[in-house]
Symmetry: C2
Subunit: 128 residues, 2 copies
């Protein structure tokens, strides 16, 4: 039972805390053919964890909303528009809406990144 | 120079990719007196990395928007409403708007969590 304080009203509702274990989330079919798992999906945002094995890459694509990336593990090369950078664990990268972007794992180890899209996209991502 | 495709128009703009290294972000003063670093702040969302040393805890507080947590390192106890759970690395926890919540590090190691608030809050968090 949770207590919600909404302005002057205090009301209670029964909930069960929602905990998602990324390792248990099924891989979602995707045009990049990589390990992508949706870990959050609400009215305001979606979040996906993408894992790239050594040599794997996403196809260049356009996301219709702003994206930010949080690197969880390893090193990856991010391309946004005509720019390119190698980033690693605990680095955050911003990718504005409608700019072509992709990730490439040029390393010899696994690479994992959390992709947060805000707000929740109403249109499909376009593969280029 | 980035190429943005906006409907039928293709236009170019000069940008520099924004990359944030969490370790270099200054700690923001906060009522919890813990290591909290804002790593993303846009019209649609804000994201903060919180580090709790062994024995440290947040004060119970209400966030006026939905929050999701991505555990980056270690183990933490999350309390949402009257529920409580221990969660660890690569687990995601959802915390709906206006439900009292907090994190406690009851372990002997460091704990780090990414806090994503969607949409960007227009009101202050309330400490209880």
């Amino acid at each position: 039972m949770n207590t919600a304080v909404d302005g002057a009203c205090v009301h209670t509702r029964v909930t069960t805390m929602k905990i998602i274990d990324v390792a248990q989330v099924p891989v979602a079919p995707n045009p990049h053919h990589v390990d992508a798992r949706k870990v959050y999906d609400s009215e305001h945002a979606t979040a996906v964890v993408i894992t790239l094995k050594p040599g794997e890459a996403l196809k260049k694509h356009l996301t219709p909303v702003d994206v930010f990336f949080y690197v969880l593990e390893g090193k990856g090369v991010v391309e946004i528009g005509s720019e390119r950078a190698e980033v690693g664990r605990d680095q955050v990268v911003e990718s504005p809406a409608n700019i072509p972007h992709r990730w490439v794992n040029e390393s010899n180890e696994g690479f994992r990144v959390l992709v947060v899209k805000v707000p929740r996209p109403r249109e499909e991502t376009k593969i280029l």
